[in-house]
Symmetry: C2
Subunit: 125 residues, 2 copies
Amino acid sequence: MPIRAYIRAVARAATTTDAFNAVAEPRRRQILDVLAQSERSVTSLVDHLGLAQPQVSKHLRVLRAVGLVEVTEEGRQRLYRVNGRPLQEIHTWVSQYQSMWDERLDRVEALLNELDVSKGRERDG
Amino acid sequence: MPIRAYIRAVARAATTTDAFNAVAEPRRRQILDVLAQSERSVTSLVDHLGLAQPQVSKHLRVLRAVGLVEVTEEGRQRLYRVNGRPLQEIHTWVSQYQSMWDERLDRVEALLNELDVSKGRERDG
DNA sequence: GCCATGCATGCCCATAAGAGCATATATTCG
DNA sequence: CGAATATATGCTCTTATGGGCATGCATGGC
């Protein structure tokens, strides 16, 4: 009996796996950008984005799954707002490569060190 | 005749669409992390990562497609190296949300403004 | 109670994924 | 030339995606 039977074939990771996968979809980034300005109801998002309501709800579901948005029930509306924290993982990872395109980084970093503004920074390899 | 016939059904965007999609896959981030330390051949990557060679080649293909790695043919080897530039788009987008988790940002920003370091005075040197 | 409004779900479709495995295409060596 | 090494491709299989569209389920107004 091949163990294969138990192995769940994994295609691409689910969009709900983490922030990386969730924000790979441009519409979801767009939704976050809109919500970043102000809390909004689904309908308000629909009007603002010109997408179909079900699509918006589905995208919001994904964003909720990874913690990028939070909801408040307000009567029959649901007010969505952004929680940027899950993006920190992305930021941390990407920042490691920042020196590859931003030459000013070195100067800024030197400055930060000098002024001791960046307390918990670890530059480990 | 419905125009639908021409519409290409788009499921999830291709991994080769942009950096966002390309790095959503953890193995590809891993590959970039390894290559960030030093240029490497495919076989070297395979040994280092413990992945199957075809998989590695395929991931590299995706990374190449979005410009995140570059290749040099060296005999029968191909030496891959990272090009971080395509990550800038991600960094820019994510950074907009940075204040949502990093309180120190305000201080740093104020500092930069005050010292006028972020002006890029010597950028075109 | 009844209907409208606001959202969430369900279903269908076409597509592309990533892993495993086999194989094709160089290139170097004897 | 033939064998071995280094990579890239091809194929199968299973699965999740995102859009379109219909519908389910609350909540609020009258």
